[in-house]
Assembly symmetry: C2
Homo-oligomer: 377 residues x 2
């Protein structure tokens, strides 16, 4: 085990009607709120009205229209709204893209340059607006961690950042709010949370208990997730997947390790960037391919994983176990299933080269990009 | 799953030489320190000198001599030292008893009555001194939770309390500091951490992922713990058991549940009170007996546990699995093994009746105390 730190100050309210706690929690941070959200879905579901009703004693400014692969341009525009109105806090209502965007806005509102500078380590963040998060999708983990991922169309990058300042102060997780998520995005969320646990598992350093937590989280996501796809309106199953998604990326799976790997996420981000492919879909394509690419080097690690999850005895059986599960819940495992033909490979390869896809622990050699693409085709 | 909250603000530094971070962390809280510790063992090991050396820029007041079943009288005396010297913080160096005592001192230092009043809900705590903890024994979990257990000789009670104010601000866990713990107390610590996970498992409410975490923690404690007994100086094994002990009682195993059970702890506390029996030893006697007492009512729950841990198929096989493990590491599973004969049973029964041993979830009927004692004999 490596030296490590545990520190996660986010206060998280989980369960039925937990959003009723918003006014009391928000009042600790002031009165002027920047309310951020995505598309009109929270208006259709009635959530928007419920939140405005809860916040009737607060002064509300809004920024909406955050895309599911969130854009720096939206972040920068929202920073302006925050600054002009001197808001005291941000309340982000949505999935990972809205909450990630809010985290960057919280940094940007305190400086006179673009928060992108923090992403590319050109500047060091010293303060941030408090962020409160209302999560409507089980997937991201951002509700209880210090990370955010943003897409910059100008530079052609989709990259992540993690800073202690970016922990949400309070998060509200009501599984009822996730029951309106359609089958496709429910599946992508399940893939995403499993991929988060896997990134920790394949990361740097050995921590046997952290490994056991990874097996626990993935087993739970597979058991509850599979059932959930057949009962999309089940509160209990939504709750189980939602809680698993938080635990998959709140630090627990990294205790005793140096870092996660994140190589597969770096592949996925490029696919999302090029084809606006949902994050989860990109990961269910990239993970099996990445494991095949590393099947020799990571033989023991993959076999241990497969044995714990599926009782599998070989690398190939393990990879097939994941493919079977991902396909079963409706997430693609090949580029062709996402409508991307081999003709696109030169373009994808160029993007991989340009942004240097790679993992922290497992290096992906440029000379093997063609092989990687073959596994994905 | 039940509604629940996650909030654990303790900052925890885990690993080799993590105590070197004490001065920087402590300086956030002021300059006057009440240093609390137990017996002379930290002087023999050299830890005392190292800590004084680290704290040379601080003004130090001391309270030592905390017993392993910590006494209210010590807490009250330490409160006086804290008050007279207007200390800014408490640094507790030791195992659960020292840290638990420090937590109560942190409350007592802010009021003009005994902190016992908080234990019996006669008063509500509103503030506390910051507590920093240096853990020297893997067992308790108190380094990352809001609980404390204290023994009151005047009233004949050993009881617990949990208040958010009592989370340590910072905890320092260096597995090297635990390598001097002897075989017996190492074993008791392993029993204690397993018992903590079991109290969550047998608690109120259903949370499948929390159950999986319980299985993970106990499996880890059994695997690393068994090996550790044969290699008491292994850093890696000490680290694994230490990390498992923190996770067993920092809230994680209770997410999605209403509460733990704590019936077995209530039995154990009475045995400790009567015979000054080490906490872990009392639990390895009480758990098998308690499971036998509830073998009908808890059949499915015990069988699931046994299957996950030992591949056991019956309640009896499961209980025997625990007994085999506890005995194997050197912790008693019967009162006779702890030198307590049947002649003592009326006295023990009287103590059980007087303090109403019971669980939150599983009630222990007074009419079954004789049966319970028979299982322990």
């Amino acid at each position: 085990m490596e030296n490590f730190q545990i520190y996660n100050p986010t206060k998280l309210f989980f369960g039925k009607d937990s959003i009723s706690k918003i006014p009391k929690q928000a009042s600790k941070y002031g009165n002027k709120v920047l309310l951020m959200y995505g598309k009109s879905s929270i208006k259709k579901s009635g959530l928007y009205d419920r939140i405005l009703n809860l916040l009737q004693d607060f002064e509300i400014f809004e920024y909406s229209g955050i895309k599911s692969n969130p854009l720096l341009s939206d972040v920068e525009s929202a920073v302006e709204v925050a600054k002009v109105n001197s808001v005291d806090m941000i309340i982000a209502v949505g999935g990972g893209s809205v909450i990630d965007s809010a985290k960057l806005v919280s940094l940007g509102a305190k400086v006179d340059f673009s928060p992108w500078d923090f992403m590319i380590q050109k500047a060091v963040a010293k303060e941030a607006l408090p962020v409160l998060a209302v999560l409507t999708l089980a997937a991201t983990g951002t509700e209880m961690n210090a990370g955010a991922v943003i897409q910059n169309m100008a530079t052609g990058q989709k990259i992540g950042i993690g800073l202690p300042l970016m922990y949400p102060k309070v998060s509200f997780l009501d599984p009822q709010l996730t029951t309106t998520v359609d089958a496709k995005y429910t599946a992508y969320g399940i893939v995403d949370l499993i991929a988060h646990a896997l990134e920790a598992y394949f990361g740097k350093g050995d921590s046997p208990l952290a490994d056991r937590f990874v097996f626990s989280i993935i087993s739970e996501a597979m058991e509850a997730g599979e059932e959930l796809m057949r009962h999309l309106d089940s509160y209990e199953l939504r709750a189980r997947v939602l809680y698993a998604s938080t635990m998959a990326l709140n630090g627990t799976t990294n205790h005793g390790k140096i870092s996660g790997d994140w190589g597969v996420h770096s592949i996925g981000h490029e696919l999302s960037f090029l084809y606006d492919m949902p994050h989860g879909a990109s990961l269910s394509i990239a993970y099996p391919a990445w494991m095949r690419l590393n099947s020799v080097f990571l033989k023991d690690r993959i076999e241990e994983l497969g044995y714990e999850l599926f009782g599998a005895e070989t690398v190939e059986e393990t990879i097939e176990g994941f493919e079977y599960f991902f396909k079963g819940i409706g997430s693609p495992v090949r580029l062709s299933e996402a409508g991307i033909s081999e003709k696109e490979f030169p373009k994808i390869k160029l993007q991989f080269v340009k942004n240097k896809i790679n993992g922290v622990n497992i290096k992906i050699d440029t000379s093997r990009f063609d092989e990687l693409l073959q596994y994905m085709k």
